[in-house]
């Protein structure tokens, strides 16, 4: 158990050592936030004040929460495990007394525990001071929201874990990784809220795991869904997490059967 805690702590420290990178990330993140708010507010103004129950202030909240969660939920290319498969270091990882999936999951949570406040809060503050944010109508949105964010990060991890394992079958996985990270953008509600999609498209997207890792935490944290509705969302997230983690285990089991270790 201590080993897992240590892995999470180590990852927290690793990400906290590049200060200038954080500052640059926050700046760029905010510029994109301003453009995105511009786009959606312009559309809402044309529509006469609201689209899919988003007012100007609520859409600003959606955008800035999204900018804040972008880095912790890790919608950017992440190939840490695949790189170790490519170099063969995975053989060492597998012989450690630490479970591969669980170990990486905790490392990912350790990473997020630093990245969320460091890279997430400043853009949120920028948004609050410039465009303004809508506060949730109940204090329960905060604890439920944080739980939902943790589940979102974990769902994202479970998916990234599987994508990385493709490296056991084909060494150059940049193609798969690239395609995955391009496609999840619109499917998880990164550019436009999933609620604004045409009815038929939304029905399809909602049966996929993707909106549950990004749109759902934003909905719960912003108080768009409250109390029982929020709990309902969290239960679906938890169900997806279990399914994806089990799937990941099965893929890992198949992958280790293929593993050939050549020398030490």
């Amino acid at each position: 158990m201590r080993a897992y805690a240590e892995l999470a702590r180590g990852e927290f420290r690793r990400y906290s050592s590049y200060r200038l990178a954080i500052l640059a990330g926050v700046f760029t993140n905010s510029v994109f936030g301003f453009i995105r708010v511009s786009v959606l507010s312009a559309a809402i103004a044309t529509a006469g004040g609201s689209i899919a129950a988003y007012s100007a202030r609520e859409v600003s909240t959606y955008v800035w929460l999204g900018q804040a969660l972008l880095a912790p939920i890790a919608l950017f290319v992440w190939t840490d495990i695949a790189d170790r498969v490519k170099t063969g270091e995975i053989a060492v990882d597998l012989s450690r007394p630490v479970d591969l999936q669980l170990g990486w999951w905790l490392r990912d949570l350790g990473r997020a525990a630093f990245v969320f406040p460091a890279r997430g809060l400043p853009p949120l503050l920028v948004g609050a001071l410039t465009v303004g944010l809508a506060l949730p109508r109940s204090w329960t949105a905060l604890p439920l929201g944080l739980l939902s964010v943790t589940l979102g990060i974990s769902i994202s991890f479970a998916l990234r874990f599987m994508i990385n394992l493709i490296a056991f079958w084909t060494l150059d996985i940049r193609g798969f990784v690239g395609l995955y990270f391009v496609l999840i953008g619109p499917l998880c509600g990164l550019f436009v809220p999933v609620h604004m999609f045409p009815e038929s498209l939304r029905a399809v997207i909602n049966v996929l795991p993707f909106p549950w890792m990004f749109q759902a935490p934003i909905d719960v944290l912003s108080g768009r869904v409250l109390n029982w509705d929020a709990l309902h969302v969290i239960v679906i997230q938890a169900a997806w997490l279990v399914v994806l983690l089990v799937l990941g285990r099965m893929v890992l089991w198949r992958a280790t059967l293929r593993l050939v270790v050549q020398g030490g």
Binding site: Y18, R19, L20, A21, L23, A24, G25, F27, T28, V31, F32, F34, I35, S38, V39, L40, A42, A43, T46, A47, I51, A52, T170, L171, D172, I173, R174, G175, F176, G178, L179, V182, L183, G185, P186, F191, V192, M196, F197, P198
Partner: protein, 269 residues
């Protein structure tokens, strides 16, 4: 004589890079698909918005697609040639830049030819197809000036975006860990350039026109093509000045690039 050596040098570099990309066939196909998918995915944002409202920044879906496609074509062409400058921070950190500096070819030329990415043509091709479909469906008078604008806008756009890549490349020597700072004006411009400039708030509109001239790569010329007036501080006639904006961007780029190289200190990599 010297020219012939330089030419062979580049040909060897480009040839070897292209062959290596084709080595992993599945990955190459997927990478090209991914590159093509980027354009389509970005277009869905426009589609979803215009599914909710009839006009966006004064443009309907077809007109907004013209702006989108012009910017996307310009940016993806710039990305094919100059996208590799993004790897400078990695080269600096790994101490691999010295190896390039001691070769008898200019650094910029080497970085460009070092890793020409064939897959990036996928995105340019998609943008071209969207442009052709949008232009075929939009009400436009095909006067000589419209034809001139449709042909030259992606070219000047590519020059402007290429210049921004080069400015970013030069700044990397100063920023090191702060490399992501440059994404704000390189990829920020790519994003802002694809939008109708009228939806940007005034400060953003000024920044993405007179600092990083993103709106000149598509929106302003598109206003001329569609015979529409521009919003405050972004009159349509700025579209005629695209060559001037491209030239000033490259002037800045050469200053940043030279300062960057002069600043570089090797660590014996």
């Amino acid at each position: 004589m010297a020219d012939a050596t330089v030419w062979t040098g580049y040909r060897t570099l480009v040839g070897s890079r292209i062959r290596s990309q084709l080595a992993y066939r599945t990955s190459f196909v997927l990478l090209t698909l991914t590159s093509a998918a980027v354009g389509i995915v970005e277009l869905t944002e426009l589609y979803v918005i215009l599914h909710n409202v009839p006009v966006f920044g004064g443009l309907d879906f077809t007109q907004a697609s013209v702006v989108f496609a012009l910017a996307n074509l310009g940016f993806s062409l710039a990305d094919v040639v100059f996208g590799q400058l993004d790897s400078i921070p990695t080269l600096l950190r790994a101490g691999q830049l010295e190896a390039l500096l001691v070769r008898p070819l200019p650094l910029m030329g080497q970085l460009i030819t070092n890793d020409i990415q064939l897959r990036r043509f996928g995105r340019a091709l998609v943008a071209l197809v969207i442009l052709i479909i949008a232009m075929a469906n939009v009400a436009v008078a095909w006067t000589p000036s419209v034809i001139y604008l449709v042909i030259t806008t992606p070219i000047f756009g590519a020059m402007i975006y290429g210049g921004l890549f080069a400015v970013a490349g030069g700044l990397q020597f100063f920023l090191i860990d702060g490399a992501e700072f440059t994404s704000s004006f390189v990829y920020g411009s790519s994003y802002a350039g694809e939008l109708p400039g009228s939806v940007l708030t005034l400060p953003l509109r000024v920044a993405f026109t007179f600092v990083a001239p993103a709106t000149i790569t598509a929106y302003a010329p598109a206003l001329l093509i569609l015979e529409l007036p521009g919003p405050a501080l972004l009159p349509a006639w700025l579209g005629w000045l695209a060559p001037i904006f491209a030239a000033t961007t490259w002037l800045l780029a050469s200053l940043a690039w030279r300062a960057g190289i002069r600043r570089f200190t090797g660590a014996g990599g």
